[in-house]
Subunit: 485 residues, 2 copies
C-alpha cells in the first residue's frame, strides 16, 4: 500500500471504526470483483459508512489524501463500473449500510429511499401502500436503488414508465468535495435552475455519490394480462406495435420481441416451458396490459386487438393468457432466453438501441453482414422492442468451439455491430451503461464536441479526478480551459 | 453603440445580409420588450439566422467580439428570460427562421423540429400523422418549441405526459464557443454518458442555444371526456385525486383545482359561462379522461368513480360532460379564471409547486398568514392539483385601490408566500422559469452547495459569460476553481 493510501485508511479507521473499514483480502474479495467476474481490482480499503454524513466525511478525507473513490451498490453492474482498478490505491465506498426507507407518501405518490435499499424492497414497500414502483429487472433481489440511478437502469417497464431517470424526482448527493447537496424534492414541476438531478443520474459515480432519492410511485393496476403472438418478421412486429398502442394506449406496459432461434434455445434447454403455438414463427411477441379496471376488461381489449391483427394478416397466430399462471408462463419463455443462452455456451453480447422504426432494417442488414463474416453464426435476438432496445447476441455456428470462436470473432463482430448501430443513429449501450467496458468505444463513436462537453463537466465538478476515475469518460484536465475567448 | 458592438454588427451584416440584422428601433421593438411589458431592454442588433450553421457562425462572431447573446423564440416568456439588458451591447438571436419540421416518424413516435417551429404547428403535424403531441399551454399559437424546451414549459398535460423535458429525446445545440452538438437521437434508451440533453433543457439559453429537437409523440386517444365535481376543501380534493388515479390509472389526463372565489370571479365577468351546480362549493375540480376505446367507455368509468366518491362523501356534487360541447364548456370555466382576474384588476401572482400531499396544509396555513397580513385579501387559488402546481394569487380586498395595494404589499406578500413554499420544500417557479424575474429569490432559497454547482457548470461551459448573462444564475467566474485539492 502506498503511504498516502495507508494514511487515508488509518484516518478512516479512526473515523468509521475498524469494523467498517475492510482491508483483509478475504473481506474485500466480494467488493473488488464484478459479479460476471470479468473485472478484478484491488482496493486500499472497502469503506462502509452508515449515513450521508459519514459518506461526506469519507469523501473529504479522500479529497485531503488525494485517494480515488469507487462507489458501489449491489455490485450487479454489467460494465465494470463499480470495480476498482488493480493498483490498490483506490477505495471502494459501499453504500449498503444506507438502507433506510426515509418516507413513503401515498398522496404525493413518492417514496424517499437511501442509496443502499435493494430494488425489491422499494417494490415491496410501494405495494404495501397500494402503489406500484415499476422498475423491474433481473437483478432486483440484490441491486440497489443507488446503483439503478447511477446507471439509469432500464428493464421491462420502460415502455410505459420510463427508465430509472423518469422515475426520480429528487436526489441527495455527496459532491467530490465532500459537501452534501440536498436536492430531495418531491415535486412534479420545478423550473428553478439547472437540472442537476439528471446530471448525477447515469453518471456512474463519476460526478458525486448519490446517497438518497425521492422516487415516483404509480397507482397499482388491478390486473396484468399477457398475450403471445407469432409473426413473420420484425417489420410485422413494428406494425403490430403501432396497432397495439392505438388500441391500448398507456395500458400497454410490455412489448417484447423473441426470435425463432431464441425460442428454439429455450425449447432445447428448458423443455418443460411450452411454446404455445403448433408451429414455429420467425418472431414471437410477448405483450402485457396493465389495467385499472379488471382482468376481463384487459382480456376483452386483447381479443379485439388480436382479431384485427389476424384479419389484417399482421400476426400469424395469437393466444391470450387465461389466468395468472399462464401469464407467468409466457413471461417465463422470455426470461429463460438468457439462461438458455448460457447453457448453450459463450456468445458475443450486445445491448443496443436504435429508433424503433429502424429495427427491421437494422436486423435484416446486420444479420446479412454477420452471415457473411461468420457463415453459420446463430443470432439470439430478443429484447424490449417497444423501447427500440435489442439484445443482439451472436452464438458460434453449431459444432464450432465456443472459446476459439470468441477469441477470433469478438473484436471484429463488435466492430461490425457498433458500426451498424452508429449508421442507424443508435446507442451501443442502451441500458447497461459504459463503466470501464465500453468507454473507449463510446469515446470513438461520439463526436468531438460531445466528448469535450462531457470532459468539461467532469473536470469542472471533479478537478482532481477522484470520483470513479476511468469510468464513463476519458479524463482531460484541460477540457473547457480553452473555452475562454 | 460601443466600438466592439459596432464591429460585431458589421460582421453580422456581412455574413447574414442586411435584411437579417435589425438595428432600427422600429424593427427591434418587438424583440426587446417582453410580452407582459414588464421588461424593456436595448440591443446592439436583432439577428435572424436561417439555420443551425448560421446560428453557429453568429455565436463564433459574438465570441470573437465578446458580445453577449440573448436567444429568443416566440417571446412569450413570463420571467423576462428572453429580454436583453438596457446597455445596447447585447445581441438578440431570434430563432424564428429555424422553422422547419425536419422529420416525422410515426413508427418511432417522434417528430424532429427546429427551434423556431410554433407549438401549435407541432401539435398539428402530430395530429396529421394520427399521433398526439401533448404539450399544451395558453401561448401555444405563438410560443416556439425552442422556448418551450429552454424553459421546460408545463401546461395542462403534465399529469399524464410530463413537462417539456419528459417529451424530448434529443437535441441539437450550438455551444457558447459556436460549435454544433448533434445530439438529435430518437432513442428511448441510451446510457452512454452524461445527460447533456437535460442540462440544456430548462437552462433558458444560458449554456447554449437549442436549435432543433427530437420530440416524443403519443398514440392519439379516441375520446376526451371531462367532468366537474364540487368539494368542501383542498383536503377532500386530495382524497378525490387518489381515488381518481386508482379508478382511471393513466387515462386520467387532467385534474385541475378551482377555488370558490375563482369561480365567483368567472361568474362576475363572464356570466355567459354557466357554473353547473345549483350552489357554490368551496372547491371545484375539473377532471379529464383520455381514452383509447370510446366516449362511452370514458363516461362509464367517470360514472363509477363519481358514484363511489359521492357515496363516500368525498365530493358534494358531480356532473359528467354529455358531449364535446359540454366538455369544452367545463374547460372554459378553468381557462377564463386568468381572464376574469385581469378584468377584476391587478393582483400578486405566484406560480408555485409543493408536494401534492402538502397542498391542503399549504393553502390553509398560507391563507391564514395572508388574512392576518392583509385583512380581506381575496385568494384566487387555482391550478394543476395533479402536479402539485398552484397559481396562488392574491387580489386586493373589495374596494381597495389596486395599484396602491400592489405597491404596498407585493414585496411582503411574495416574501410570506415564498417562505411558506420553502417550508413545504416546494418550488417558487413551478413552470415559468427564473429568467431575470426570480434569479435573486432562487439564489436566496437554494442552498450554497446548489448555487455553487450551478455556477460551476455555467463557468465551465461559458467561461466568458456570453450566453444570456444575468438570467437563471448569478455569475461567479471563480466557481469550481477552488475545488482542487
Amino acid at each position: 500500500m502506498t503511504a498516502p493510501a495507508a494514511s487515508f485508511v488509518d484516518a478512516c479507521i479512526r473515523f468509521l471504526g475498524p469494523s467498517h473499514v475492510l482491508t483483509d483480502p478475504r473481506d474485500t474479495e466480494p467488493y473488488v470483483v464484478d459479479w460476471r467476474k470479468r473485472y478484478r481490482g484491488d482496493a486500499c480499503a472497502v469503506l462502509l459508512p452508515a449515513d450521508v454524513q459519514e459518506v461526506a466525511a469519507v469523501v473529504r478525507l479522500a479529497h485531503e489524501h488525494r485517494i480515488a473513490i469507487v462507489p458501489q451498490g449491489g455490485n450487479t453492474g454489467l460494465a465494470g463500473g463499480a470495480t476498482p482498478d488493480s493498483t490498490a490505491t483506490q477505495a471502494v465506498v459501499s453504500l449498503k449500510r444506507l438502507n433506510r426507507v426515509r418516507d413513503i407518501d401515498p398522496h404525493n405518490n413518492t417514496i424517499t429511499v437511501e442509496a443502499g435499499v435493494v430494488l425489491a424492497e422499494v417494490q415491496a414497500r410501494a405495494k404495501g401502500a397500494q402503489r406500484l414502483f415499476p422498475l423491474s429487472l433481473a437483478a432486483e433481489g440484490s441491486c440497489t436503488i443507488g446503483g439503478n440511478l447511477s446507471t439509469n437502469a432500464g428493464g421491462t417497464g420502460v415502455l410505459r414508465y420510463g427508465n430509472t431517470r423518469e422515475l426520480c424526482l429528487g436526489l441527495e448527493v455527496v459532491t467530490p468535495q465532500g459537501e452534501i447537496w440536498d436536492g430531495l424534492r418531491g415535486l412534479r414541476k420545478d423550473n428553478t435552475g439547472y437540472d442537476l438531478r439528471d446530471l448525477f443520474i447515469g453518471a456512474e459515480g463519476t460526478l458525486g455519490i448519490i446517497t438518497a432519492a425521492v422516487m415516483k410511485l404509480h397507482p397499482a393496476p388491478v390486473a396484468k394480462v399477457t398475450a403471445l403472438a407469432g409473426l413473420a418478421s420484425p417489420h410485422a412486429a413494428l406494425d403490430f406495435l403501432s396497432m397495439a398502442q392505438r388500441h391500448a394506449g398507456p395500458l400497454l406496459t410490455g412489448f417484447e420481441l423473441m426470435s425463432d432461434f431464441s425460442m428454439r434455445l429455450v425449447g432445447r434447454h428448458f423443455p418443460q416451458l411450452r411454446y404455445p403455438f403448433g408451429e414455429p414463427h420467425a418472431q414471437t411477441v410477448l405483450l402485457e396490459l396493465s389495467d385499472s379496471e379488471s382482468d376481463d376488461h384487459a382480456r376483452a381489449l386483447f381479443e379485439r386487438m388480436m382479431e384485427e391483427a389476424l384479419a389484417e394478416g399482421i400476426v400469424e397466430d395469437a393466444v391470450v393468457a387465461e389466468n395468472l399462471a399462464q401469464s407467468q408462463a409466457f413471461w417465463n419463455l422470455r426470461e429463460h432466453i438468457p439462461l438458455a443462452q448460457a447453457q448453450e455456451g459463450l456468445n458475443i453480447k450486445h445491448d443496443i438501441a436504435v429508433p424503433i422504426s429502424s429495427i427491421g432494417r437494422f436486423i435484416d442488414e446486420t444479420d446479412a453482414i454477420i452471415a457473411q463474416a461468420v457463415p453459420g453464426a446463430r443470432m439470439v435476438t430478443f429484447g424490449h422492442l417497444g423501447d427500440g432496445n435489442l439484445h443482439y447476441n451472436v452464438q458460434a455456428p453449431e459444432g464450432v468451439d465456443q472459446k476459439a470462436f470468441l477469441t477470433e470473432f469478438q473484436t471484429p463482430i463488435n466492430a461490425l455491430v457498433y458500426e451498424q448501430v452508429h449508421r442507424h443513429r443508435g446507442s451501443i449501450s442502451a441500458e447497461h451503461g459504459l463503466g470501464q467496458l465500453k468507454v473507449d468505444e463510446a469515446m470513438h463513436f461520439k463526436s468531438p464536441v460531445e466528448v469535450r462537453l462531457m470532459q468539461t463537466i467532469k473536470a469542472a465538478l471533479d478537478p482532481d479526478n477522484l470520483m470513479n476515475p476511468g469510468k464513463v469518460v476519458r479524463w482531460n484536465a484541460h477540457a473547457g480551459k480553452e473555452n475562454t475567448a
